[in-house]
């Protein structure tokens, strides 16, 4: 069998087409690391990728090299062979995700059966391409994955205002007064509840959650106002808080879906939390925004965040 010399493959080491232009999207170069134990496959993939204008930042042929390459080169995408000495592609993916949790990985392998696909899905692999690689298929996959990233940036630019608007609008309709919002915060600190907190899971192209927090007294006053009663029960307070949160999160997600239907956001039912001491852990979300607002009933705090990880 002919021994393949990587150097025999001619590829442009300084590609002039470093930049991928996509209609309506920011011009951005896409940096890729190729992980494969076969020099032939590395050279083949590198050739294909460079000819299509991607930047191949480096290659690796073992788990250790892959971890090092990802740490130093910080690629956008890794192409991953399934079989490598000492570790398979899924184990290798887990190892590189330990240093770079949201790295996108494409499995490029000659083996492709149900078990591999199943394991790949569990390991949050972005896609798979079977060897011999179809050039068009691989490039389309990379572009699709990267436009998912653009979509996340779009959501990132929109969601805070959508939730703020939905909260302001809900208060305006119910209480004929608009909350006075303080400055938006993007820090990820542990939150100690004011007394009552509502957690709403958000599900769609990107997962997330909203938290609405206020004192029990504020929640009680809101319930009294809406139910037009002097006295309200705990159950009634809880129901009112759940319903208000449902409306705010539902309206905000509708606004976002209207601006781009690809978000496909839906909300899970509210969980209302109350008690002596409620601490909401610092999140592991990729983006989070929060603000306090003064209302007629006291301070209200909302916190919304999303994760890039595609469901």
């Amino acid at each position: 069998m002919t021994k393949f010399e990587t150097d025999n493959f001619q590829y442009d080491k300084n590609p002039s087409t470093k930049i991928i232009e996509k209609a309506g999207m920011n011009v951005k170069e896409i940096k890729i690391v190729v992980v494969d134990d076969s020099p032939f496959s590395v050279a083949m993939l590198t050739n294909i990728l460079i000819s299509r204008g991607f930047v191949v930042a480096g290659s690796a042929n073992s788990l250790e090299e892959a971890v090092e390459a990802v740490t130093t080169l910080k690629p956008d995408i890794v192409t991953m062979d399934m079989t490598m000495p000492g570790a398979d592609g899924i184990e290798c993916t887990k190892a590189i995700r330990a240093v770079c949790p949201h790295l996108k990985v494409i499995i490029v392998s000659s083996m492709m059966d149900d078990e591999i696909v199943h394991r790949a899905q569990k390991a949050r692999i972005s896609g798979y391409v079977q060897k011999p690689v179809d050039e068009e298929e691989l490039c389309l996959l990379i572009q699709r994955i990267m436009s998912d990233d653009e979509l996340f940036l779009q959501l990132d630019g929109l969601y805070y205002n959508a939730f703020r608007e939905a909260l302001a609008d809900t208060f305006n309709k119910f209480f004929k007064s608009v909350p006075d919002f303080q400055e938006k915060q993007t820090t990820r600190e542990e939150q100690v509840s004011r007394g009552m907190s509502v957690v709403m899971g958000i599900i769609g192209k990107y997962g997330g959650r909203m938290i609405l927090d206020m004192s029990e007294e504020a929640a009680e006053n809101i319930a009294k106002f809406l139910l037009k009663k002097e006295e309200v029960t705990k159950d009634q307070i809880v129901n009112v808080m759940g319903e208000i949160s449902n409306i705010v999160a539902g309206n905000a997600c509708s606004l976002l879906n209207k601006s781009n239907s690809l978000f496909g956001l839906r909300v899970a039912p509210p969980t209302i939390v109350y008690g002596e001491c409620i601490k909401i852990s610092k999140t592991v979300l990729d983006t989070v925004s929060s603000a306090k607002a003064e209302t007629d009933f006291g301070e209200v705090y909302f916190n919304v965040g999303f994760n890039r990880g595609v469901n």
Binding site: Q121, K122, S193, S197, V199, M200, G201, I202, I203, G204, G207, G208, R209, I211, V238, G242, R266, V267, A268, P269, P270, T271, I272, V273, Y274, G275, E276, C277, I278, K279, I280, S281, K282, T283, V284, L285, G305, F306, N307, N311
Partner: protein, 153 residues
Amino acid sequence: MNKDYTESFSIAFLDVMPQLGITDVQLKGETECGHLIRSPGVVVVIGITGDLHGNVYFTMQESCANSIASTMMGGMEVLQFDEMVQSAVSELSNMLAATACTNLSEKGIGADISTPTLIHGDFTADASLKQASCLEMLVGENLFGIYLSLETK
């Protein structure tokens, strides 16, 4: 509660935990409970929607969270319920719910999950749906609760 739902979650737990090095796990029992969940210290909430709609709650004491996190991090000593532990338990909850959804999809039931929210302290969590099922899991001697507040859409 629909047997497909409870089975998917208990199997997910019994499958995932040993993969993380936590081998002494079992299903102790299953009870029907109301919508109020009393926090034993730590509660992780994950929203679910699709063919079914609701929330799943993973509950445990801080000491149980510490011991799980310690094993997940390769036996690293864990002295307090700190950020590292909270992050590990959030990630574990995410894995459990995602695996349960994969199990559900194999039964032809589509379900997607939200990101986890970890709450700790002395509180009650009120789930919106009237009834929940509680799967009482054991991790060694520690109780690990999986509350399913789910309805078919």
